[in-house]
Symmetry: C2
Subunit: 286 residues, 2 copies
């Protein structure tokens, strides 16, 4: 198999955290990167940072690319501009980096014969053209969600790309992916945000409000980190993974109500058993 990322220019659409990091890693491995960005100011800054070999706001920059990575935010990925669609090279292998997979597949698979839905699970709190950094994907999962209609050779090309930047390659169904990320990524955002909202709301008098802020320690800081993150990102995930997130929230609400009942009814032996189970469960997630 000709390895496309090495043999022909790689197109990257969007040079934010994921697109920019991928561009840096690929160039460091000798690839030629052609990047499409939305705004001229981004193109200039990306050029100063050395993110790609060619950078333009005109989709024609993707001409000749053998593999194109759509590193767009979920909303733009699900509503792509016609000019981008028109400019994608006919026979190119195409993949995305979206954090929800079923709606991406529904949108792109019927349209592009060599589309592979994928999700590199690497992130920092940063975003935008300044955020890209080397080795972001090293050791992190890169999940593809092929279907029966997925071109096997296209899948192998995306795998070669992921492994070139040090990611751990995994495949599963889009539905399994979306349920899994609902549980371990999207649900924690809301659980964590609710803790901030209630710590504020449940302390209505100023003295108590000041006290909760003064006494909050590293445990509270850790538990609320993801809930205090980017609201646009959290909302995009909820919007496009609504069903799986709704199911996860319902299951979570039941679990928490069960713990609440143990506290209210004074069943502290059972509470300790539940906390012991929670402690045992955690290491395999780390």
């Amino acid at each position: 198999m000709t390895v496309l990322w090495r043999d022909r220019p790689v197109g990257i659409v969007g040079l934010g955290l994921i697109g920019g990091s991928l561009a840096l890693d690929l160039r460091a491995r000798g690839a030629t990167v052609h990047a499409l960005v939305h705004r001229q100011a981004t193109a200039e800054r990306a050029w100063q940072r050395g993110l790609a070999d060619r950078i333009a706001t005109d989709p024609q920059v993707l001409e000749g690319c053998g593999l194109v990575v759509l590193a767009l935010p979920l909303d733009r990925l699900l509503d792509p501009p016609q000019a981008l669609l028109d400019a994608l090279p006919r026979q190119a292998v195409l993949t995305d980096v979206g954090s929800v997979k079923a709606p991406v597949l529904a949108q792109w698979q019927p349209r592009c014969p060599r589309f592979v839905a994928s999700h590199p699970m690497a992130g920092t709190a940063e975003a935008g053209v300044e955020a890209g950094q080397p080795a972001l994907f090293q050791g992190r999962p890169w999940v593809a969600t092929p279907t029966e209609a997925t071109d096997p050779e296209a899948l192998e090309q995306v795998r070669a790309l992921a492994e070139a930047v040090g990611a751990r390659w995994l495949t599963c169904s889009a539905i399994a992916h979306d349920r899994a990320v609902a549980l371990i990524s999207h649900l924690p955002v809301l659980v964590s945000a609710a803790l901030l909202l209630v710590a504020d709301r449940a302390a209505p008098d100023p003295e108590l409000a000041e006290l909760v802020r003064a006494l909050a320690s590293s445990g509270f800081a850790d538990t609320t980190r993801v809930g205090g993150g980017n609201p646009e990102l959290g909302t995009l995930m909820a919007t496009h993974n609504r069903q799986a997130l709704g199911e996860a929230l319902a299951a979570y609400g039941q679990q928490l109500a069960a713990l609440q009942a143990l506290v209210e009814q004074g069943h502290f032996d059972q509470l300790e058993a539940a906390l012991t189970r929670a402690r045992e469960l955690r290491p395999p997630f780390l």
Copy 2:
């Protein structure tokens, strides 16, 4: 005012994380520390670590101490052995380090005229005689919950002790303290544990179970850290702060249900507003 911790031996009952750390800091500042521990093996290890000037399993070791710190786990603090009560020097200033204050006050204040309920809010994941470390209290809150019956000079003595080890001194009512720690410390433990339990329970088939573990990232690790902590400690807090924790759980359940309704009904503008509010709320807690 004679500063008791400097002028006479300080008694410390229990040489776990809090007692051991306090002993190390006080000795480093020239104090003489007499420590009472439960088991002979602990006494020997504490002696090897240089935690105190005298260490014994006999409560008589507290004789002559001007200030005694009860650094016991909450259950033993609330059910003290008679031999300890008999051995406490009559006129000594007495304080505790318990993480819930109303039941401690109810137990100790009627019994000891110079008792001051207090809570140094410093912790690590460690416990036991190996856990004590220097400078644990530096910059951390040390909350006292005096009542009208609290001896003002005893309160000043405990303040001098807290400030000697670099803690930030605060006072509030026991009820306000217990409500505040329910919100920022005890509630997060259950919220976080529920996330581990549901990530396990909501992935009943082995493939999905493996996937959620493979895809969990630093966000999940942070959000579940306190829920995967010491089950005995979490249970003790819940047992002795049952009412405030029950109220916090109820308020939290309502808050989460409100977010769930926004997801289920597709009110994503309102969801983004709530997440934006959560992001704004977080910095003052850090």
